[in-house]
């Protein structure tokens, strides 16, 4: 039985290395990921969108020379033209230019906030779910406490203590996101830690840290992908600007619409699409459609798979 299992696992390894066209894919994990990524059209589109977004944020001063905040009242509230693809706002400033400049801050905030959330939230969620008992109880009660505070109030208080500025904005929004990550990761770990291969790893004397990182984290990362805060957070500065227009200028609704929707669209669009390719995998249902998921998130699985989690 065991030998048969091994054999079938071996065959699968062989098949895995052959693309549908029959060409050989290198053993190297990175090149294999790239080959898989290339076949996933959705991931490619997402990647291109995200790249365009990042590049335009990076090269904003080249794309839009001059001060994006400088008013130019003669051109106020213009409808979209070739020169101004999204029109101008009530002070005659280019809406596209302002979106692109805004996206620089948004991008920094999004990356920073999600990093803070991940760096603090994932280890706490892992420990809480894996060890259970008193540790879990303590961490979860602190999480309850933090969740009770609306993000708005928490951010206000943190900014009052730390002072204003980009860094403090990132820290305060990031900290208010931490409980959410803790809950998400813990939920997945609770069920993954009961899997046979975790028990097996424990039985052969693997250290907790290694079990947590190699066996649980990579496996749980498939289900506990981070919520799309990237998109949402980065929209926030755009929102304030649009809300301001909203209440003041009803006639400017079309231009406001373009402003907010395109900001949201680009961010929210690009992020999930790339995330798709990172976290989702459909090896059996759609052979060509896996992004980086298999090779990166379950590196050791096939080796264990030969014996333990196949049958």
């Amino acid at each position: 039985m065991l030998s048969w299992t091994r054999e079938s696992a071996m065959t699968e390894i062989k098949e895995d290395n052959v693309c549908r066209t029959g060409e050989w894919v290198p053993e190297n994990r990175l090149s294999r990921s790239w080959a898989k990524l290339k076949r996933n059209k959705a991931a490619l589109v997402g990647g291109v969108l995200l790249l365009a977004y990042v590049l335009s944020a990076f090269f904003a001063p080249l794309l839009f020379p001059g001060n994006p905040s400088a008013p130019n009242l003669i051109n106020s509230l213009e409808t979209p033209t070739l020169k101004e693809p999204l029109g101008t706002d009530e002070l005659g400033r280019s809406i596209l230019g302002r979106i692109i400049y805004g996206s620089r801050i948004s991008l920094l905030i999004a990356v920073g906030v999600v990093s803070v959330g991940i760096i603090l939230g994932i280890p706490l969620g892992l420990v809480s779910g894996y060890y259970g008992g008193k540790i879990d109880f303590a961490i979860q009660r602190v999480t309850d406490t933090m969740l009770a505070f609306p993000g708005f109030l928490l951010a206000l208080a943190l900014v009052a203590v730390l002072g204003v500025g980009l860094k403090n904005t990132v820290i305060s929004i990031g900290i208010s996101m931490v409980p959410m990550y803790i809950r998400l990761v813990r939920g997945c770990v609770l069920s993954v830690r009961e899997e046979d291969y975790v028990e097996a790893a424990r039985a052969v004397g693997t250290r907790d840290l290694i079990i947590l990182v190699r066996h649980i984290l990579f496996w749980a990362s498939g289900c506990s992908r981070p919520p799309p805060n990237g998109g949402r957070c980065s929209v926030r500065p755009g929102l304030t600007c649009s809300m301001h227009h909203m209440w003041r200028l009803f006639p400017a609704l079309p231009s406001f619409w373009q402003c907010s929707v395109s900001t949201c669209w680009v961010t929210a669009c690009a992020m999930p699409w790339t995330r798709d390719s990172k976290y989702e995998c459909t090896p059996k249902t759609a052979p060509g459609n896996q992004g980086l998921a298999r090779p990166l998130s379950h590196p050791g699985r096939r080796c264990q798979g030969g014996g333990w989690d196949r049958f």
Binding site: G132, D136, F137, Q140, R141, V142, T143, D144, T145, L147, A148, F149, P150, F152, L153, L156, A157, A160, V161, M180, R183, L184, G187, C188, L190, S191, E194, G222, C223, S224, R225, P227, P228, G231, R232, L239, S242, M243, M246, W257, S260, V261, C264, W265, T267, A268, C269, P272, Y279, E280, C281, T282, P283, K284, T285, A286, N289, D309, R310, F311
Partner: protein, 306 residues
């Protein structure tokens, strides 16, 4: 499990004390003086001093906290500094509205989000999957206040089918709950899709299929059941967020809920009201998280807490 439940219920007390302590000192760190806000711009220093004395703000902070806690153990949340009404009455008047809106929005979101996620996971990269994905992107990226206003324009102003705002009948609930659900439904659909894709590709699904089970049973009993944990987590978290954070939607639809009450109280630095509202949020969160943890154990019997 009973022991665990009792422990969890008992732990409510220290958590609430923790919240009150943190909150009490946090509020006093915020810039802005409640006495100044109440007295107005034209007040003399003497008037401000009088109000500060009335509110007890001239005493040392630990003494203020002791007084507050001694009232709290008698379940007295104090009086609003702004309206002079008992805090508990104002919260009590708005709590049913908030609960109604949240429950309807979350129910709508689950009713549409979970099936949409399942369909797009079962037929990945088909036209229906793309439709769900694009709708989900719309739902996530549209600002709620903008969507709310558009719904008002279409359904209340042009078509005149539904009221534009306020409360009173079941028709009043529709627009705000749809607005709130739009984001949550997108979130749930995406989460369901990605976790279902994961479980559908696992060996136990293949085993279930090869046993000759119908596709429906494979999808619902084997794949969905194993994909539920993160979905439940997200639903629970969103439930909590909506209970406390629907300020924009409540503003657009003139909906008298807790989010708006809290926002106004923070703007006015109405300490007793903020403290009362957040304690209630704390209680609701503790309850929601407890229910979520119990559902975990129900959905996945391997999960034990003892």
């Amino acid at each position: 499990m009973h022991n665990y439940l009792i422990k969890r219920l008992l732990s409510t007390v220290p958590v609430l004390i923790g919240i009150s302590l943190l909150l009490f000192f946090m509020l006093r760190m915020l810039p802005g003086d409640p006495a100044q806000v109440l007295a107005g711009q034209m007040a003399t220093p003497q008037e401000i001093e009088n109000i500060r004395h009335q509110l007890g703000l001239d005493r040392p902070i630990y003494e203020q906290y002791a007084v507050y806690m001694s009232h709290l153990v008698r379940l007295d949340l104090g009086r609003s500094a702004r309206t002079q009404n008992p805090v508990i009455d104002e919260i009590w008047a708005r709590l049913p509205n908030t609960l109604l809106l949240t429950v309807v929005a979350i129910t709508l979101a689950c009713l549409f989000g979970i099936p949409a996620g399942i369909i797009s996971a079962v037929r990945p990269y088909s036209w229906i999957d793309y439709l769900v994905t694009i709708s989900a992107l719309f739902g996530m990226s549209m600002p709620v206040f903008w969507l709310g206003l558009m719904l008002v324009v279409v359904f209340a102003v042009i078509l005149q089918w539904l009221p534009a705002g306020g409360t009173g009948s079941w028709q009043h609930v529709i627009l705000p709950s749809v607005t709130l659900a739009s984001f949550v439904v997108a979130f749930i659909a995406r989460m369901t899709r990605s976790t279902m894709l994961e479980t559908l590709s696992q060996d136990f699904t293949t085993t279930a299929r090869s046993k000759g089970l119908t596709e429906k049973v494979v999808i619902v009993k084997h794949a969905l059941k194993n994909a539920l944990i993160p979905i439940i987590t997200v639903v629970g978290l969103q439930f909590g967020f909506l209970l406390g954070g629907a300020v924009l939607t409540e503003t657009v639809f003139a909906w008298p809920g807790l989010g708006r009450l809290l926002y106004d109280s923070i703007s006015a630095r109405d300490y007793p009201m903020i403290q009362g509202t957040i304690l209630i949020f704390g209680l609701l969160y503790i309850f929601v998280n407890l229910v979520v943890d119990l559902i975990y154990a129900f959905v996945d019997p391997r999960i034990r807490y003892d």
